[in-house]
Each structure stands twice: as C-alpha cells, then as structure tokens.
C-alpha cells in the first residue's frame, strides 16, 4: 500500500513537472533568444557590430558569462537553425 502510494506520488510529480514544461516550452526558447541577442548586442564587437560605449561593457562584462554561453550555443547551432526552429514549433 505504501509503495503504491509512493509510486503514485512519483507519477504525479512527473506529471506535474511535465505539464509545467509543456506550459513554458516556447517561452523558454524566447528567453534563450532574448539572452542571446543581449549578448550579441553587448559583445557584438567580436562580430563587427557597433558596440556600446566601453564603460557600459566593462561594467557588465564580469556577469555576462551565462549570456555569452547562450550566445555561443546559439551560434554553434546556426548551421542547423532552420530545422531546429521547425522543431520548436511543431506542425501537425
């Protein structure tokens, strides 16, 4: 009985987690994109974009590691971006 209750609880927890993910999958992608754009705008000097005044940059640079890693990940995936985008928005 106890074990049944336990596995029910686990099952419910998985269901809850799954539903929570279901409710945010696209927003998380959007968040990723926004963070990547933020990094690109501030770190854009690397790719030839006009960069913001050095002062701003120097101030936020030490905290940008996550954003840069998001941007790196995004750019690493650029060779496959079309299909990935199609996969994000599921059709049929």
């Amino acid at each position: 009985m106890g074990r049944l209750l336990d596995s029910l609880k686990r099952g419910f927890r998985s269901f809850d987690k799954g539903m929570r993910e279901d409710a945010t999958s696209l927003i998380r992608k959007q968040l990723d994109e926004e963070e990547s754009v933020f990094a690109l705008l501030t770190m854009g000097a690397f790719s030839g974009l006009p960069s913001p005044p050095t002062g701003v940059l120097l101030r936020i640079l030490p905290h940008m590691s996550r954003e840069i890693s998001v941007m790196n990940k995004r750019s690493a995936g650029l060779d496959d971006v079309f299909s990935q985008t199609l996969g994000t928005f599921d059709i049929d």
Binding site: S14, D22, S25, L26, F82, S83, F89
Partner: protein
C-alpha cells in the same frame, strides 16, 4: 465491434512493440544504456536536459499529435474503413514508427542535431536551399488545407465555431493566469481546464457565433493567422498549446472509453472500391495515393523534425528511445484507429440524421449502405456537400464522435462540440505556428534578392509582408480553388511524405554505413524506404496528371509547379542517396 477493433489495435501495437520494436532497438540501433546521451554530454539545462521518459513521451506525443491524425483518416474512410485501418496499422508499423524511431536515434548519435543536418553530413550538403523552398511551399499548403478543413467544419457548425472562438479567449485568460499572476500552477491549470469545458458547454448550449458563409470564414482565418502570428508566444500560442494537451489526453481517454463500451457493429462499408473518389472527386487508386491522404497516423515526415530537433536533446537514456520515439508513433496510430472506429461505427448514423437532405441532394442513402461501390463513388461528395452540411472530413469525424460519446450518455451535440474543439484547437494552433514558420522561411528564401535589390529585399523581408503574403497565398489557394481542400490536403500530405523520404533515406544510410547493419534488419529499413519512395513518386506523378488538371485554373500553376518541384527533389534525393551509398565513405557517428 468497436471494442474489438480498439482492443485489437492495442494488442497489435503492444505485440509489435515488444517483438519488432525491440528487435530494431537491439539489432539496428544497438541502443546502449551505458552510452551517455546528448542530454548529458551537451547538458545546458535548457535545450539539453535529461527528462523522465514518461514525461518526454508526453511532450513528444503532444508535439506529433495534431489535427493530422484526425483529418487524414477521416478523408480516407471513403475507401472503406478497413483499407484506412490497415494503412494506419501496417503503414505505421513498417514505415512510420521506424521512421520516427530511427530519426530520433540518429539525431541522438549526432549530438541532437536535426535529421536534415545528419542528412547533409551523410548525403551531401547541397540540400539546404531546396529544403527551405520546399518547406515554404509545404507551409502554404498547410495553411490552405487547414483553412479549408476548418472552414468546411465551422461554417456548418456554429457550436464548434463558438467553442473554438471561446477557447481562444480561454487560452488568453489562461496565459495571463499562468505567467502574469502568482496563482499556484495547479489552480491556474484547473481554471484553464474549467474554462475549456466552459467553452464547449457554451458552444453546445448557446452557439451564438454563426458564420455559414465559408468565404467570410476564410477571411476571418486570414486575419486571425496574421494577428496571432504577430503576438508574443506567451499571449495565445503557448497557453493554448498547454490547454491543447488536456484536450488531447481528455479526448483520447473519453473516446477510448466510449469505443470500448459502445459494442456497436460497423455500419460503414468495410471496403468500397480500389479507386474510390477520394481526392478532388477523382477516382483515386488506393495504391499509390493512400499516403497522400493518411499522413500522420501512419507516417509523417514532420515527426522527424520534432524527434530530431527537440526530443533527442532530452532523452535520458538510449534505452528510453524506443518507448518515446517508437511508442509515441504507435500511440498516434491508436488515435487514428479511434477516429476510424468512430466513423466506421457511427458514420451512417450521422447520414441517417440528415437523410432528407441527402435525398434532396440527389443521393440514394439506402444504396450507399448496401452498395459499397456506389458509396465509394459518392461518399466524399456527400461528406463535403455544403447542401447536406455534414462539414467535410472533420464534420463526419466530429458528428460520429458525438454519436459515439452518446453511448456513454453524453448528449450528441455536446460530444460533437468536444470532438470539434479537439480538432479545431489543433488546426488553429497549426495555422498560427505555420504562419510564424512560413514568415521565417520566406525571409530566408528572399535572402538572395538582397544582391539584386536592397530595397525590394527590405520590403519582402519585412515580417508583416512575409506574414501577410503567406496567409494570403494560402487564402488564395483555398478560396480560388473552389474549397477543394482534399486536393490541397493531398499536396500537403505528399510534401510531408517526401520529408519522410529524406529522413528514411538518411536513416537507411546511417544504418548501413555507420551502424554497419546487414542482412534482414537492413532490409527492414531499406524495403520500407524504397516502398515509400516509389509510392510517393508514383502518387505525385498521378497527382500531377489527374488532380492538377481538374483543379481551378488559378491553382493549377502553383500546385502543378510545386508538384514538379517535389518530383525533381525526389529524384535528386535518390541520386544523392545512391551516390553516397556507393562512395563507401566512412562517417563517424
């Protein structure tokens, strides 16, 4: 009979899951529980994150199950319920599920890259632009076909129209509750589900939104698509997607229960004729045209995109792949089975309800029931006739579904509204996402124009222009094509199968060259690949010579051009496949 079919299907899928499926896992994929998956090796806790296999199954299934597995079988039943069912069982078993499973696992071995990427790795990179062109046209066809099916349904059913409009409002409210308030998740979910049920009940009790004019409905859909695709995802798309999964699971559970307890014989002909008039009222030979009608449910190329784009990054263990990739496809087969079962058992009950109108339209209802060949000739016409007002393929499904739910004491109209919301919620979601994607694909496509004219490029790449263009092109196809959604549906399904061919050829190459599988198991992948390729090729040729000439003049050029493009791509694919096959080039996974 209904119970028998559903239980048999379940037994069929479970049996083959443990025999054929396990054999694929063992001998073709050689899944190794000890080999870390991309969810671990590339873990970033965002895209790449290991997920519980049941949770992942849920995500994957919710992604692959849309309106497709409902619409296709509902069109195909004009051949009779048996051929449709057989294709949903065996097409699924021998092609569809292998396709889904292999594209998932190949992607897992390539760090979660998409199957199109893997295809570039294995079969040459020249595909990118053509793939995009082709995806773009597919999107347009989806927009047109889905607008057509929804228009046919909603113009004849104010209940469903009202419910689906209210459901959108419910989704917007749900979005506010979920993301903008501090309400606990369970509470906003409960409210969302209650609102969804409310939308169905209001549609049933008080169908205050009516629009019998189908052209007007198309126009509303165009406006809806353009506006919806311009909204931030959290506003409508995401919360609706979320509520859709409740509708999906709720619908499946209710429908299965009803089917099991219906104990009803099938009054629909089991088999009408080999060349029943299915697509555009033309005699459509079951082979090769069945894949142009039933796509999802038996085989869908879009599954490879979902499987290799998202699911492969979250697979916690290679041994979970079979359950997630293969199992979810079987689950979709079950869904299509239920759709066919409800039409098979209750389709004629629906016809009897509108017997006078059928007679008035000049059809012989009694003969339809006794003379299967006659039904094969007129069935599609009856279902799609606006005078009779069944509401097309989705109409026959939702009305039969309502009848079936009546077995478990749900009022017919309420059941119909539930079935209608189920189908239309997915159709409307697909229209929204497709327009977003078409917009993006269009911007990619017009990239070369930049070299010719910067000004023109700037206009074309504008997202409003791209969005309006895609929606209006779809609108043009369906409205000027004389509401011939079956032809557009066939075009979309054909494109979908071609996408599946790309994935299957890639998978076959992977199986042979990387996995070094030989003998019978290689044949298990190669034979369906070639059967699929040949079938789709012949079907497209048939489509070009039989269907394209009878479509409205406005459509002929676009549809014909697109089919020719698909054929060229099909040959070109095969050429690439053989080239890489013979090169003996070694690729490491």
């Amino acid at each position: 009979m209904t119970a028998l079919i559903v239980l048999f299907a379940a037994a069929f899928y479970i049996f083959f899951y443990f025999t054929y499926g396990k054999a694929l896992e063992r001998n073709v994929v050689r899944a190794d529980g000890a080999r870390p998956t991309p969810a671990y090796t590339c873990r970033d806790n965002c895209d790449y994150v290991p997920a519980n296999k049941f949770v992942l199954f849920g995500h994957h299934f919710a992604s692959i199950a849309g309106a497709g597995p409902i619409v296709g079988p509902a069109i195909a039943v004009v051949w009779g319920w048996l051929p449709a069912l057989l294709w949903v069982w065996f097409g699924n078993l021998f092609i569809g599920s292998i396709h889904d499973y292999l594209s998932l696992m190949a992607s897992v071995r390539y760090d979660g890259k998409s199957i199109q990427y893997v295809s570039g790795e294995l079969m040459g990179k020249s595909s990118k632009y053509i793939f995009e062109v082709y995806i773009y046209f597919t999107m347009i066809l989806i927009v047109a076909a889905f607008m057509g099916t929804y228009g046919a349904l909603a113009s004849k059913s104010p209940e469903i129209l009202t419910a689906s409009v209210l459901f959108m409002v419910a989704a917007v409210v749900e979005g506010q509750l979920l993301y903008k308030t501090k309400l606990p998740f369970w509470l906003s979910s409960v409210i969302g589900v209650v609102l969804t049920i409310g939308a169905i009940v209001v549609g049933f009790v008080w169908p205050f939104i009516k629009c019998p004019n189908i052209q007007l409905l198309y126009m509303f859909q165009v406006i809806y698509i353009i506006l919806a695709a311009a909204l931030p995802v959290w506003f409508l798309l995401q919360p609706r997607d979320y509520l859709n999964s409740y509708i999906l699971w709720g619908g499946i559970i209710i429908a299965t229960t009803a089917a099991v307890f219906a104990f009803r014989g099938f009054n629909w002909p089991a088999y009408t004729s080999f060349a029943a008039r299915v697509i555009s009222g033309q005699p459509s030979p079951f082979w090769p045209t069945v894949p142009l009608v039933i796509a999802c449910g038996a085989l869908s190329g879009f599954h490879s995109i979902v499987g290799s784009g998202t699911t492969s990054k979250q697979l916690d263990n290679e041994l979970s792949g079979l359950f997630v990739g293969y199992g979810a496809m079987f689950m979709e087969g079950m869904l299509s089975t239920i759709v066919i079962t409800s039409i098979g058992a209750f389709g004629f009950t629906v016809f009897q309800g509108v017997a006078d109108k059928i007679t008035a339209a000049g059809f012989d209802l009694a003969k339809m029931q006794t003379d299967a060949a006659y039904f094969g000739q007129v069935g599609a016409e009856v279902i799609n006739s606006t005078d009779i007002g069944i509401g097309g393929a989705l109409g026959i499904f939702t009305k039969s579904f309502g009848q079936m739910l009546n077995v478990i004491k749900v009022p017919v109209k309420l059941g119909t509204t539930l079935g209608g919301l189920w189908a239309s919620a997915f159709v409307l979601t697909t229209l929204d996402t497709t327009n977003r994607l078409a917009r993006y694909a269009f911007q990619e496509l017009v990239e070369p124009i930049k070299k010719v004219s910067k000004g023109l490029h700037a206009v074309l790449a504008d997202r409003w222009v791209a969005s309006i263009f895609a929606a209006c092109l779809g609108w043009f196809l369906i409205a000027k094509g004389g509401n011939a959604y079956t032809a557009l549906w066939a075009g979309f399904a054909g494109a979908n199968q071609l996408l599946a061919s790309i994935a299957m050829l890639t998978a076959a190459t992977w199986v042979k060259k990387v996995q070094k599988v030989g003998g019978g198991m290689l044949a298990a992948v190669l034979i369906p690949t070639f059967v699929l390729w040949t079938t789709v090729f012949v079907a497209l040729v048939w489509f070009l010579f039989v269907i394209v000439p009878v479509t409205a003049a406005a459509l002929r050029v676009i549809l014909g051009g697109f089919v020719i493009l698909m054929l060229v791509l099909d040959i070109w694919l095969m050429y690439n496949f053989f080239k890489s096959w013979n090169e003996g080039k070694q690729n490491k996974a």
